[in-house]
């Protein structure tokens, strides 16, 4: 009898059972937070009667501006989640010395480190990047929309549900304890028998496919939807950088998809790609994952470079120095980023010739990066510099990125890498690149473009406080890690001997992290306060910073159709040039096609989530149903040939005039 019940349970629920619930108080706390947040959101929506609003304005939207806002909201939420992980990691490392074992078990600590890395890269850095691209890219190329709005919405919801799946692992089961790239053989079923690695695989798989679709969308948007007159060499630098980045996504993310699938096949169907026996080859995994992983670094940093190119030119009141060399630098980075991946594992034993090649290539790729840095500095030279907070983030970036970059060139020398490999020196290096580079740029971008999207500026005083807390906290947190790395401290270290004398440095680093936490707190306060006091900071001109590119020619907030009348571009910095001449506008209004709202993108991604969740737990009947539902959803979508509606020219004119009047009032 019991046997039959077992069989039934394993059919209906797969491997899911009560043992999946969290085992200890810290995990219970995390789990209850993850459950409480959506419940509180639901209560809030019900009390304020906003469910319909949520559905109409957000869940079904096809407007890239709204999708961009949602990306950034999710990314900020995940910044808090990943930040909570940091708090635990730093506390553990400060306390777990000698006889004391700190607050976390070794396995729990490894899960937290893995979750921190995964979340910060895939759901914070990528989220902020795609958010900003969605918000700004169509405006800068003078377009009313992206090439494939439905695909774009689907990308976002896949990203969203990938994020949900990572967080579900806090409540049901565990997360991978393998480090953020889950190297085999540790990530194979034999050594990681729980569902943790499966959660890791499938949340990245969903989010990764979302990124891939987004890249296809933006490549076509940039190549096919630029406004009349904007040839390649007249595109704003941000657009160039996004083009480079999205080409990298298109070429690198399929490798990730393939690699994750192979690991999943190993774990689920008993294949032997990366197993330590039966003809598997685990070093192949390391090669494959970095063939994606190294371009990924540049996928993140290129749009960041683009943001700084815009910010520096605007706040120096000069055109960007060395536009052409900037473009070539992006091109060089795109190509070179595919031939440096082996520097992540010089210690593999590929031999001195191979290591020498990749070492030299790694040093070579620093050159175009250096070109860009000098171009920004020359842009500032003899400019009329205004030190608003976006510019502060830029200057902070220059300092941190240069320190981190030089550490990178140092490690590009294979013999030195043999000493520093897998140490905290490396950890300090890549945090300086990703946080000091990407995240600082994203914060600059949010401050810079916030008024364009919402119609009012963020509070500058709090913005400065946030910046200084971040900068000081960041240096305090990571400079000690360089030193610790030299002293031999390895990454993912959950316990060390007191005689090593590392504890003080770990404590200093922890204090730095706390300062960063305070910085994030001030940023949240800045959002809340700026929204509360928005009347004081309204942007009525649409051009609060004296900007240079087309988005600043629009009213703030940008109307849903972006451009009532399409501009024509005759030069770089099109809006800047147009401001200089008194430009007589006799363009006519025309009908605009706007995509209709649809819940299908959300539903398809939801089904992808169900599929992934049930594969993690081996609930095959749900997985099959979810897959069928996705196919049906796509067929339903394909039956609808009227996916757009037309906004009549008179209507556009009326809306536009009322916007203009609002701007003058």
């Amino acid at each position: 009898m019991l046997h039959v019940l077992d069989l039934m349970a394993s059919f209906w629920l797969g491997q899911l059972n009560l043992k999946a619930l969290p085992p200890n108080p810290i995990q219970w706390f995390g789990a209850s937070l993850i459950i409480l947040v959506p419940i509180m959101a639901a209560v809030l929506l019900t009390v304020t009667k906003r469910w319909r609003w949520l559905y109409r304005e957000w869940i079904t939207t096809q407007d890239p501006k709204k999708i961009g806002v949602m990306y950034i909201l999710v990314a900020f939420g995940m910044l808090l989640r990943g930040g909570a992980d940091v708090a635990l990691i730093k506390t553990q490392q400060a306390l777990s010395v000698g006889a004391s074992n700190g607050i976390l078990s070794a396995s729990h600590f490894q899960q937290i480190v893995t979750a921190h890395g995964t979340i910060m890269i895939f759901f914070v850095a990528m989220g902020l990047m795609f958010g900003i691209i969605n918000l700004i890219l169509p405006l800068q190329i003078g377009s009313r929309d992206v090439a494939f709005p439905f695909l774009n919405a689907t990308s976002f919801w896949l990203f969203f549900f990938g994020m949900v799946l990572v967080n579900v692992s806090l409540v049901l089961g565990d997360f991978a304890a393998t480090g953020w790239l889950a190297y085999p053989p540790l990530s194979e079923l034999r050594y990681s028998p729980s569902v943790g690695v499966d959660y890791w695989i499938w949340s990245l798989q969903i989010a990764g496919v979302g990124s891939l679709l987004a890249a296809i969308n933006f490549i076509v948007t940039i190549l096919k939807m630029r406004v009349k007159g904007m040839n390649f060499m007249k595109m704003p630098m941000f657009v160039w950088s996004v083009l480079g980045s999205m080409l990298l996504v298109a070429f690198a993310f399929p490798i990730l998809t393939a690699t994750l699938t192979l690991l999943a096949l190993d774990r689920t169907l008993g294949m032997h790609f990366f197993t330590s026996g039966a003809g598997g080859n685990m070093m192949m995994y390391v090669n494959l994952i970095w063939a994606w992983g190294h371009p990924e670094v540049y996928i993140l940093i290129l749009p960041a470079f683009g943001v700084f190119s815009e910010v520096v030119a605007t706040f120096s009141k000069k055109r960007l120095f060395g536009y052409t060399s900037m473009v070539w630098a992006i091109g060089a980075i795109v190509l070179l980023s595919f031939i440096v991946w082996l520097h992540h594992f010089f210690t593999m034993g590929a031999g001195s010739d191979v290591n020498a090649f990749f070492g030299i290539m790694t040093m070579v790729i620093a050159i175009p990066t250096g070109v860009k840095l000098f171009n920004w500095l020359f842009t500032m030279y003899r400019g009329r510099i205004k030190l608003d907070s976006p510019m502060l983030w830029f200057i902070g970036f220059v300092v941190i990125f240069t320190i981190g970059g030089m550490a990178g060139v140092l490690m590009a020398v294979p013999p030195i890498d043999f000493q520093l490999h897998n140490s905290l020196f490396l950890v300090a290096h890549f945090h300086m690149m990703i946080v000091g580079g990407v995240v600082f740029a994203d914060f600059a971008a949010i401050t810079y473009w916030f008024p364009k999207i919402f119609g009012f500026k963020l509070n500058e005083t709090l913005g400065r406080w946030a910046f200084w807390l971040w900068l000081v906290g960041f240096l305090t947190s990571f400079i000690p890690l360089y030193i610790l790395g030299f002293m031999g401290a390895t990454r993912r270290l959950d316990h060390y001997s007191a005689s090593l004398g590392w504890q003080q440095l770990f404590i200093v680093s922890g204090i730095g992290a706390a300062l960063i936490g305070a910085g994030v707190g001030v940023q949240l306060l800045q959002f809340a306060y700026s929204i509360y006091k928005r009347k004081d900071n309204l942007d009525k001109t649409g051009d609060p910073w004296d900007g240079r590119s087309l988005e600043w020619s629009l009213p703030s907030p940008v109307p849903f159709y972006n451009f009532a009348r399409l501009p024509e571009v005759t030069s770089r910095d099109a809006f800047w040039e147009a401001k200089k001449i008194h430009f007589k506008d006799n363009r006519k209004y025309e009908d605009i096609e706007i995509p209709k709202n649809t819940p299908l993108a959300f539903l398809i991604a939801l089904m992808a989530f169900l599929f992934a969740f049930s594969v993690v737990w081996h609930i095959w009947w749900v997985a099959t149903m979810a897959l069928l539902a996705i196919i049906v959803g796509l067929i339903i979508r394909s039956m609808d040939e009227q996916t757009d509606y037309v906004l009549a020219a008179q209507e556009v004119e009326k809306l536009d005039k009322s916007h203009l009047k609002g701007a003058r009032a």
Binding site: K224, F253, P254, A258, L265, H272, G280, N281, M284
Partner: protein
Amino acid sequence: MSEAVSELKVTNKLIAKYDKDTKTIFGFWVYLMTDCVLFASLFAVFAVLRHNTYGGPTAQGLFNLNYVMIETMALLTSSFTAGLALLSAQRKRVKHTLFWFGVTFTLGLTFLILELSEFSRFVAQGDSWRRSGFLSSYFTLVGTHGLHIAIGLLWMLIMMAFILKRGLNDTTLKRIRMLSLFWHFLDVVWIFIFTIVYLFGVLGV
């Protein structure tokens, strides 16, 4: 005068429609390139693992070139008939289009059935994907191609239903173009599979 204006409006609409279609087809090309990278990764994996037989069967012991040749002919012919279907569609000949898609579908299905029965024969004789790294990579590479074929067949069925119901309007025509791109792409991938997996395998290169 007003006639000229309305004519201009129609022309503008046509241009807009054309832009939109080329955009979609260009986007589909970009997608195909990403799929190409996916296959490239699987080919690379196969190249690394193809001698890792771990005491199991080798390519020479396993593959029957005559059988694979029949599969190949079925798929190559289906690519040709898919081309004929596209040509008929562009000439707005509904019945011809349906006929050639019918032939393409039958050939594609034949290919898939042949492939699956080969797979099941291997599994039945104990040479499944669990046997060795070589077999894992073989099943995954060839199976991924087969999965694409299955998706293509499903798409073709839906396409035929659309043609029956809505005729050959612009949207249908655009989708037929993409379907035929997809089908030819799979054909190209198969040529590489045939060469690298089967031919090199049997020759022991």
